[in-house]
Amino acid sequence: MALSIEDIKKVAHLARIEVSDSDAAATLTKLTGILGLIEQMQAVDTTGIVPMSHSQDLSQRLRDDAVTKTNLRDEFQKNAPALGNGSAEQAVAGGLYLVPKVIE
């Protein structure tokens, strides 16, 4: 199936990656090549084959519902990015992370 520039923009939006118009054209060429490779799959008859999501086909292991993690918030917050928009301050305050206002 042929991809279009609109497809690229739609997928980029879903993936939350900004693409400029010129990037979208270049991306279209590359992704078309990759999808061409992937298309080889369509020639295979897979009727009745159970999909394999994991090599060992094991069921998910369960553990006791107990606290296992230690509180590393301060350590984690050391990796917070700079706030941006002119501020080099870390995007944290009072143990929280700062993001642009979401609710008006």
Binding site: R16, Q56, N79
Partner: protein
């Protein structure tokens, strides 16, 4: 001395012929000297490294040494190591300092090994040449105009140039075995689930597996003894009894049944590489092995299947990089959506973005059945091919890569050509099987690796098969001239 085996290093340390600090300093000096040209390491911290060496010396003096105590090991920058910059080769994580240790790192710490530094890699392990790294490409120590392979290219060059005693790598589609082939050393991707993925930055979770990259099968076995083992923090870690991977090294190969899949010797294989693989097989016949012709009919489908499943899993795994709590955040943005879009556009390189977009596409409404489900169905066919094959043979052999190391820049603009580098390795990841690459000779002066694929949990036998070959050949001891010619006087 730098060409010693891990066992020899251990003996030197434990008989006090050398201290861990001296041995570590020797490697650090080599790194200072050669890394500016090779670019194998992207994070070094001499103070931290030497502090670990001093602790190891104390442990040796106290008589509590384990086999790897005091031995300097390079760690692929995909493993979180507390207090170390851990970037996964990406601008996205260029300033990320790991707040905890990966299980693999903890295992090496417990063994008393010394962390020499973090090695360069393709961004988020997506690549076969190390050229997608934000921190620049890595030179193949055998020929500086060629790539070391990827994604574990920094570890590969470090092992080949003897800038470490051994290294770790990860293999999602061939990222240990293909660089092992291109740089001429021994690398093992274990059965999926044998080594914990905790603290190992995720690319495609159902395929990712860490393993050793070292000079010989014996070294890989000693590394496996440290790396393997159950870890409840990885939900796919297998709870199996601890095994000694060195236990079978010295068994004879008389009666070994080697399967040669005809698909691994078909069109696409470089003639020079093919000749060397045939010579290696002939050597195995002399060691008493029997050759059996087998078929893995769905081999050619492994690449299309992989380039659906791995990007699909990657698009999900990499959605965590949003510029909120860690990683790159755009300098300028208007609202939250704009912040996500710009942070991810700026933080990820071209190949990573391509794979996220492919993954998002194959998982999107209307395409899920045609691509993702279809790929999972063919994955089962590929795995079944191996089940059938292992009814007839003990191990499968063939090339690890279709060619020797290619020139830097040669495939960088052609993703599909790059993807074909992993034609012989990807199917084992899809099936979850263990695979190795073992040095088998040189074609036009460049190393060639023999791939050995084993049945599930057959690592000890594969290591035996490789070790016996290394008793009668010396390809694995060959060192690149360049690494020697610049030795400090």
């Amino acid at each position: 001395m730098i060409n010693s085996s891990l066992k020899q290093f251990g003996e030197l340390l434990q008989t006090k012929k050398i201290s861990s600090v001296e041995l570590t300093q020797t490697f650090l000096n080599r790194i200072t000297q050669h890394n500016p040209s090779i670019n194998a390491y992207i994070a070094l911290d001499e103070a931290k490294t030497l502090a670990q060496a001093r602790v190891a010396d104390t442990r040796i003096a106290a008589g509590n040494a384990a086999p790897l105590t005091g031995i300097p090991i390079a760690q692929k920058d995909i493993f979180c190591a507390m207090g170390w910059k851990t970037t996964c080769g990406s601008k996205m994580l260029a300033n990320f300092v790991a707040p905890y240790d990966a299980h693999v790192i903890t295992q090496f710490d417990n063994a008393g090994a010394v962390n020499l530094g973090k090695t360069n890699m393709d961004e988020f392990a997506m690549g076969s040449s190390n050229e997608t790294s934000y921190f620049g490409g890595v030179k193949n120590p055998w020929s500086f105009d060629r790539v070391p392979g990827g994604s574990s290219g920094g570890s590969a060059a470090a092992v080949a140039a003897r800038l470490c005693a051994a290294a770790t790598g990860t293999d999602t589609g061939g990222s240990i075995r293909q660089p092992a082939s291109l740089c001429g050393f021994t690398g093992l991707k274990p059965t999926y689930g044998v080594v914990s993925r905790f603290g190992m930055i995720a690319f495609a979770s159902s395929l990712d597996q860490a393993g050793p990259m070292a000079k010989s099968a014996e070294d890989c076995a000693l590394m496996m003894n440290v790396m393997a083992g159950f870890d409840e923090r990885d939900s796919t870690s297998l709870n199996r009894e601890k095994e000694d991977y060195t236990r079978n090294l010295n068994l004879p190969l008389q009666g070994l049944k080697i399967g040669l899949p005809k698909e691994f010797f078909a069109e696409g294989l470089d003639a020079g590489v093919g000749k060397i693989i045939e010579a290696a097989i002939a050597e195995y016949k002399k060691l008493g092995a029997t050759i059996i012709d087998i078929s893995l009919p769905n081999t050619s489908l492994s690449i299309p299947v992989y380039y659906v499943l791995a990007p699909a899993e990657a698009s999900s795994n990499l959605s965590r990089y949003d510029g909120v709590r860690y990683g790159h955040r755009a300098a300028e943005y208007t609202d939250l959506m704009d912040m996500y879009n710009k942070s991810r556009a700026e933080g990820f390189g071209a190949e990573v973005k391509r794979r996220i977009l492919i993954g998002t596409y194959v998982l999107s409404a209307g395409y899920y059945d045609a691509y993702y489900l279809k790929a999972q169905q063919i994955r089962r066919l590929i795995a079944q091919d191996f089940v059938e094959a292992f009814k007839k043979c003990d191990v499968i052999m063939g090339p690890a890569a279709p060619s020797t190391a290619f020139k830097a820049g040669e495939k960088v603009d052609d993703p599909v050509a790059m993807y074909l580098q992993d034609i012989y390795t990807i199917s084992t990841n899809l099936a979850g099987l263990p695979g190795m690459s073992v040095p088998a000779g040189f074609s036009d002066g460049l190393p060639v690796g023999l791939q050995i694929i084993g049945n599930y949990f057959d690592e000890a036998r594969m290591l035996n098969v490789a070790h016996q070959y290394q008793q009668v050949t010396d390809w694995h001891t060959a060192m690149p001239e360049l690494a020697l010619s610049k030795e400090v006087k």
